[in-house]
């Protein structure tokens, strides 16, 4: 049977993959934020007996009984985990492990005993995104796409309706409860949504990959956002993106599509780890580099200023100057930056301060000497102990701090070594 809406089979697969990803990401965000990521895994396994019983009772694989079965077992799982934790004092992770494996085992037993032949067990694990177009159609859509769209709408409308309740009870459940917005009720609702979402996704992507779709885009979005709404939106976007990337990669390498979508999500997560503005490795490295470059550049300026100050006619060649501030590619970059910025100019082999460079250098030397004076006067450090710390601090003293230092020290004209402090 082919869908009544005319789209290529590729388009149907892509749409289904993307819809599944988005539906999962919406609820996944809250699992990640509540540090319950493994609940997704637990529920994805625990719902199996619910599905089997629903099938046995309704004698069909139609959507409604499957959803009801999943929701019921999802609630039961949540309740059991909670109760075991509370009354038997089993740690949450252990009670989770006990409950979901037991329920899953029960499901396997029921499946083998009563329904051999109707369920393709391998399909429950891996899904069959490739076969989407071959499935029956509901409302003109292939069945897996229809179910995921249904769940996507459900998740979306619940979130829109109860946005502030989900936000508050995830951030501060105690406050939510004292305000009469029961955090427990929201918890059960979320778990129901997760159960239904996983079941809806089984057909397309299987019970293992659905866990990745719940967690990975959400975790990626968490790295990239400062607001909850942004996080949810970004996670949905990451979901769509990983569906598209995964689809084409799978075609290219001729392999399992859902698997490739998950790999793509993992790669996007890795990219986020490197590039996130707040926690990213790249931004840390880049930042460190920026600071180092600034220090090198300012050291160069300060050194040239001090040489000028001594009044010697001798000038430094570019190579000498680079060696004096530590050499290496960083010093090369520093010299280049100063030349480009018009702080230095070349006079043959030698480097000279321009008026602009001299002004900046004077401020640096001023900061350095004010700091030395401050250390001697207020911390009572001996003279030979003040150069090093001042050398480190001078790069970070703002104009404002300069003024404060000036007010603090008794003699803001001369540093402790007897040198003049420039204005």
């Amino acid at each position: 049977m082919t869908p009544t809406i005319a789209l290529s089979s590729d388009a149907w697969i892509l749409l289904t993959g993307a819809a599944t990803n988005v539906a999962c990401a919406l609820v996944g965000c809250f699992l990640v934020l509540r540090r319950m990521s493994l609940m997704g895994d637990a529920l994805a396994h625990a719902v199996l007996p619910g599905l089997v019983i629903a099938f046995l009772l309704s004698h069909s694989l139609s959507i409604v009984p499957l959803f009801v079965g999943a929701a019921a077992v999802g609630l039961l799982t949540t309740f059991l985990i909670q109760t075991l934790h509370q009354y038997a004092r089993t740690p949450t992770d252990a009670s989770m492990g006990v409950v979901f494996t037991s329920l899953f085992a029960l499901g396997v037993v029921l499946l083998k005993k009563f329904v051999v032949g109707h369920f393709d067990v391998a399909c429950v694990y891996e899904g069959s995104l490739e076969l989407v177009v071959l499935s029956e159609t509901i409302c003109g859509l292939p069945r897996p796409l229809f179910t995921t769209c249904l769940v996507l709408l459900l998740n979306l409308s619940v979130l829109l309706l109860l946005w502030k309740e989900f936000q508050l009870s995830s951030f501060d459940p105690a406050l939510a409860t004292t305000m009469g917005l029961s955090a427990t009720a929201i918890h059960y609702l979320l778990m129901t949504l997760v159960s239904v979402t996983t079941v809806a996704s089984f057909e397309a992507v299987g019970s293992i990959l659905v866990v990745a779709m719940l967690i990975v885009p959400a975790a990626t979005a968490h790295l990239l956002s400062d607001r909850l709404a942004a996080m949810v939106a970004i996670s949905a976007l990451v979901g769509v993106l990983s569906a598209v990337l995964g689809f084409y990669a799978a075609q290219y390498w001729d392999t399992n599509i859902a698997g490739m979508m998950t790999v793509a999500a993992g790669l996007l997560y890795a990219v986020a780890v490197f590039c996130s503005p707040r926690y990213g490795i790249c931004s840390t490295v880049l930042n460190n580099l920026k600071v180092s470059l600034r220090v090198v550049r300012e050291d160069l300026l300060g050194m040239l200023y001090r040489i000028e100050e001594l009044g010697s006619a001798r000038q430094m060649t570019s190579a000498e100057a680079r060696r004096a501030i530590g050499g290496g590619w960083l010093s090369r970059l520093g010299v280049a930056a100063l030349l480009r910025g018009g702080h230095l100019r070349r006079a043959g082999e030698c480097l000279q301060l321009t008026p602009r460079g001299r002004t900046e250098a004077r401020q640096l030397v001023r900061s350095h000497r004010l700091w030395e004076t401050y250390l001697v006067e207020h911390l009572g450090l001996p003279l030979d102990h003040v150069h090093e710390p001042a050398h480190r601090v001078e790069h970070f003293i703002s104009e404002q701090m300069q003024r404060e230092l000036e007010a603090e020290v008794a003699a803001p004209e001369q540093d402790p070594h007897g040198r003049q402090i420039p204005d």
Binding site: L161, L162, W163, K164, Q167, D172, L175, L228
Partner: protein, 267 residues
């Protein structure tokens, strides 16, 4: 006679902000608070003082209905808590929330208004106006759009206070608002508490610095698994009572608690 009795009762009701009757609180049947009996008049700043593990946080949580009572009852302005939710504000210990959560300062303070909104209704312009006012009151307007991890400890504490103010409650429970803040912030918080008192709010504050109790509070609750004393600072915050509070745990209470955990049948 009966009429005047009722009248009298009504008077005490309106001036008693918090009344705890014979309250025992247990975790997994092991009592951690025994037979607490106390009354707090309205419009006072009240310090809750006791060693670590004394049950200060538990007292607050029990009063707020966050942990079940093994026995006894709690009344807020003469009514049980669930009828008085809007009248009670709560500032938890700072480490009780995830500061990496993707919310800004403004978002967190806005949460204070959720209680009066109730289920489903969304915050609107008037709620945002409340938030602006509360941010200003604690002096963090400039930080409104920061993610909460990017704040210092003292600033985080102020965010919680602003959120409590946004709740616009009559009775407040603050769990260690002075923990890990510098002198300037401490002074600012204390000034805020005084402002709240002059608006006739009742504020209960868990406090660890015994030096400042006399300066900060009108009333004090001395707690160590049981109520040692409760009353005006001048008469209650005495050497003798302090000695009783901090003179070590009462081992007999611990033993009894352990025995109850093991033997008492589960209810």
């Amino acid at each position: 006679m009966a009429a005047s009795g009722r009248y009298l009762r009504k008077c005490t009701m309106s001036t008693t902000a918090l009344e705890i009757h014979d309250m025992t609180v247990a975790y997994q049947r092991r009592p951690v608070l025994w037979d607490i009996d106390l009354q707090i008049p309205a419009g006072k700043l009240v310090g809750i003082v006791g060693p670590n593990g004394a049950g200060k946080t538990t007292l607050i949580k029990a009063a707020l209905g966050l942990v079940p009572l093994a026995s006894g009852k709690v009344e807020i302005h003469g009514k049980p808590y669930h009828q008085q939710r809007q009248a009670v504000g709560y500032v938890p210990q700072r480490e009780s929330v995830d500061w990496d959560f993707p919310v800004t300062v403004r978002d967190v303070v806005l949460m204070g208004t959720y209680g009066s909104l109730g289920w489903l209704r969304r915050p609107g312009r008037s709620e945002h106006a409340i938030v602006d006012r509360c941010l200003q009151q604690v002096g963090i307007s400039a930080l409104a759009n920061r993610q909460i991890r990017q704040l210092s400890g003292g600033q985080q504490q102020r965010v919680f206070l602003a959120r409590a103010l946004a709740q616009d409650a009559q009775l407040y429970f603050l769990d260690e608002p002075f923990a890990g803040v510098d002198a300037a912030t401490e002074a600012a918080i204390f000034k805020l508490l005084q402002t709240m008192r002059s608006a006739h709010k009742t504020v209960l504050v868990v406090h660890h610095d015994l030096q400042t109790v006399r300066d900060y509070f009108d009333h004090v609750i001395l707690l160590n698994m049981r109520l040692v004393a409760c009353g005006p600072v001048e008469t209650t915050f005495t050497q003798e009572n302090l000695h009783l509070t901090y003179g070590g745990r009462l081992t007999i209470l611990d033993e009894a608690a352990e025995a109850m955990r093991q033997r008492e049948p589960q209810r």
